[in-house]
């Protein structure tokens, strides 16, 4: 009875209450750090077992077989996401010590780390589970802790951002609950594999089919709210801009990826791609919001003066790329989408870490604050340049790999407009990245500005780890690609 599939979820679940009992900000931080490292190690071990086409790893909680009990199901897609989430968490925690100490009240610091661990538990639980209702419980777990984490931001706008996210997120979660209920009413089960089998047994135009369509509609809209798919993205720019820096780093790199995972599970594992794409033509329905998101969000990003907000809009555009890959409905496009999940986590994680470092030294992240930072914070701004290049999709960076795969997949279908939009998105990214780079490097220093020295090593080292990963996976994308291909095959072939 190998406990490994459960370990990534169990460790933060048990450490979170401990944070409340331990005294001292540094001790809590050390505990959280150790926990996230252990999670990452377990994910690596899980990835190792699944390497080269291993079968999915199950774990029956309470030793009750599915569908009477809850069973964990770790396949290639799940393992990729586990690696992303635990990896980002493991890198963010060393970074967090100074950033959190500066941005959060001392009294609240143990509570902050507890909430961070709970958010981690929720996200990992969504990814690992094979039961639909268990997915809902852990979704709400991660959402609830996110609302509180965002609300701990320093400015009062953090509170309204958190409230807006709470309302929209709860509507989304309730839609997902309605969807699960309707699926349950037609099949009598909650286990994902079992649902897939029983749904496939309901033929088209049979009694019960309308309920399935409605269930799918509610699930998709609910997940799109969590995913921040254009035009349901309204909560994201505010939430990411006003949250504490560490929270933005963590959420931007993980939360929306897990939402994409949920979409993939619902479309492929539960309902089956024959039903979703051929009968319901999800591809066409998803195409327009994705393309619109890429173009409109990138355009809005260009006009932002708050750079965190600019990067938040950029995230909405990148999510458009991911859903674009799903909507193209081919194995190549799906692989591209999944690889982009991985790469975007690395890119945005690095870029928001730069924001956190600038906030730590300069106190704010408006465009004007970047003046002359090229000289005064050389390492930080170099990281921004490299992260920006990855965002644009310059060859040699991770961002290029996924964009290239996406373009290839679109070319296979001869969908020229799609290729044009992908390239347009990159061009727009050049504009908004260049604004910052120009201000940092090419604006002369007029006044003597106090206090902006280079960021301390505890902020720089994790940042450069992520940037290094960006570059490494730009040159040698072998293993994310392999995992993604495995995942795509499994998804399209059924569970």
């Amino acid at each position: 009875m190998n406990l490994l599939p459960l370990l990534p979820v169990l460790l933060p679940l048990l450490c979170a209450p401990l944070c409340l009992l331990v005294r001292g900000a540094t001790t809590v931080w050390a505990l959280t750090c150790a926990c996230t490292l252990a999670c990452f190690a377990s994910s690596l071990l899980l990835a190792q077992s699944l390497w080269h086409g291993g079968a999915a790893l199950p774990y029956a909680l309470g030793n009750w077989p599915a569908p009477w009990g809850i069973v964990y199901h770790i396949d290639a897609l799940a393992v990729l996401l586990l690696l992303i989430v635990t990896g980002i968490a493991a890198v963010t925690l060393p970074y967090a010590r100074r950033s959190v100490a500066q941005e959060i009240q001392p009294r609240d610091i143990p509570l902050f780390y507890a909430l961070l661990l709970i958010c981690l538990t929720g996200l990992l639980g969504i990814v690992s589970t094979g039961d639909a209702f268990n997915l809902y419980v852990f979704l709400e777990l991660s959402s609830l802790s996110s609302y509180a984490l965002i609300g701990l931001g320093q400015r009062r706008r953090a509170l309204t951002a958190a409230f807006q996210y709470l309302v929209m997120g709860t509507i989304g979660a309730t839609f997902i609950l309605i969807g699960i209920g309707l699926l349950y009413s037609q099949t009598g089960t909650l286990n994902i594999a079992d649902l897939a089998g029983r749904i496939a047994a309901i033929p088209e135009a049979a009694y019960g089919h309308r309920t399935l369509i409605t269930a799918f509609a509610f699930l998709t809209v609910g997940i799109s709210l969590k995913l921040a798919l254009f035009p349901l993205h309204l909560w994201l720019p505010n939430a990411y801009s006003y949250a504490p820096s560490v929270v933005t780093v963590f959420l931007a790199a993980t939360a929306t990826k897990v939402a994409v995972y949920m979409l993939l599970r619902v479309c492929f594992s539960v309902l089956g791609n024959r039903f979703v794409f051929e009968q319901l033509t999800l591809g066409k329905i998803l195409l327009l919001p994705s393309l619109a998101g890429i173009v409109i969000a990138s355009l809005v990003a260009i006009f932002q003066y708050d750079i965190k907000r600019m990067l938040a809009y950029s995230s909405v555009a990148q999510i458009g790329y991911m859903t674009l890959g799903i909507s193209l409905n081919s194995e190549a496009a799906l692989t591209a989408s999944i690889v982009h999940l991985f790469n975007h986590a690395l890119m945005k994680g690095a870029l928001f870490m730069v924001m956190g470092a600038v906030m730590y030294r300069a106190g704010s992240v408006y465009l004007n604050d970047f003046r002359g930072l090229g000289q005064r914070m050389p390492w930080t701004m170099a990281a921004f340049v490299l992260g920006g290049l990855s965002l644009i999709g310059v060859p040699g960076t991770a961002g290029f790999v996924s964009k290239w795969l996406l373009v290839q997949a679109a070319l296979q279908h001869r969908w020229w407009p799609v290729v044009l939009v992908i390239l347009l998105g990159s061009l727009l990214a050049v504009i908004y990245i260049w604004r910052v780079v120009e201000t940092a490097y090419f604006n002369p220093l007029h006044e003597i500005e106090h206090g902006t020295a280079e960021a301390p090593p505890s902020l720089l080292v994790p940042l450069w780890l992520l940037v290094g990963a960006n570059l490494y996976f730009g040159f040698d994308a072998a293993w994310p690609l392999q995992l993604a291909q495995q995942a795509a095959t499994v998804l399209r072939g059924g569970l």
Binding site: D108, L111, F112, G125, F138, S145, R210
Partner: protein, 327 residues
């Protein structure tokens, strides 16, 4: 006859919902929301969901109502008149409603015993849970044993809510309260309140204990018991004042209980692993599987009760200790 009660209750619910939408005094809206919860609880009883009715009455009517009133005291009491008619909202709502009605057209008729959900997973719970798990209350067996991991997640959700509320609101005026120990509570002069409260609080605590342990045999369990425990303390606080209540149960003990409950639940699962079973596989806890199940359920329900009690009281204290706005 049952159908008639069902129809009447649903009609009352619809009327209450419309009233909530229309009313502008927030105090009225909160009271109507509590009435809505209570009517829902009655509806759940007619639909044979006794555990759910119990929880909805305790949690939905009681706790949600108290917290909303606590928030109302700290904010404003009237809603502004909306400046224009929300046509877009109406359109969105009508579209969603239409889609839902379309989707539920294929649902089996209410109460149909041949519906798909009664054929597949549920029959094993009903026919075999007493031999496999033990308690006569099938809902407790499913909640605590078959789907015990969901309940662990749920306990963690409650814990998260407590931590979030404390992080956002805190006990900033705690020291001020403790310093003004001499300032009596507003209600302390009301003799009737004090005496009746004194009589009731032990009974409420006893009832909560009963609910905690009787959850195996009837409606009840950790959640409901935790809420009822909390309500006894809330009654004490309302009558004798926050300062005294904070002396009875200081926040650090509440933190200990809240964290301890989750750790007890997780620890029980961990103990099962150490004894060679799966996580939360209570059969590993004792040589006889049924005894193991009973022990496991007892431990986790205790954990749940502890966390729910501590979190509810923490949230109430957090709202109560916040300073009222200077008007």
């Amino acid at each position: 006859m049952e159908l008639l009660i069902d129809i009447v209750l649903l009609t009352f619910l619809a009327i209450t919902a419309l009233a909530i939408s229309h009313v502008r005094k927030l105090f009225c809206a909160i009271m109507l929301a509590s009435i809505f919860s209570l009517l829902c609880a009655c509806l759940f009883v007619t639909m044979d969901a006794v555990d759910v009715a119990f929880t909805e009455a305790a949690v939905g009517t009681g706790i949600a109502g108290i917290l909303m009133l606590g928030a109302l005291r700290l904010t404003e009491t009237r809603e502004k008149r909306p400046p224009h008619q929300p046509w877009l909202a109406l359109l969105v709502v009508c579209t969603t409603g239409a889609v839902l009605i379309y989707g539920t057209a294929d649902l089996p008729a209410y109460g149909d015993p041949a519906a798909p959900i009664h054929q597949h997973v549920a029959p094993r719970y009903i026919s075999q849970s007493q031999q496999e798990v033990g308690p006569p209350n099938f809902v407790t067996s499913v909640l605590a044993s078959y789907r015990g991991f969901d309940t662990l997640g749920e306990t963690l959700v409650i814990f998260t809510a407590g931590v979030s509320v404390v992080a956002l609101l805190g006990f900033r005026s705690l020291r001020q309260f403790l310093r003004n120990r001499r300032r009596p509570s507003v209600m302390a002069d009301h003799l009737v309140l004090r005496i009746v409260a004194k009589m009731f609080i032990p009974l409420i605590l006893l009832f909560a204990l009963y609910v905690q342990f009787h959850g195996d045999y009837g409606p009840g369990g950790g959640f409901q018991a935790g809420v009822i425990f909390a309500s006894a303390l809330i009654l004490y606080t309302l009558t004798y004042g926050l300062a005294k209540a904070l002396q009875v149960l200081p926040p650090r003990i509440l933190y200990l209980l809240a964290a301890g409950g989750v750790l007890l639940y997780g620890g029980t699962g961990w103990l099962c692993v150490l004894r060679g079973g799966h996580f939360l596989d209570y059969r590993a806890l004792a040589s006889d599987p049924l005894v193991g199940q009973h022990l496991g359920i007892l431990l986790i329900e205790a954990g749940v009760g502890m966390t729910v009690f501590a979190v509810m009281v923490l949230m109430f204290f957090a709202f109560s200790s916040r300073k009222e706005p200077q008007s």
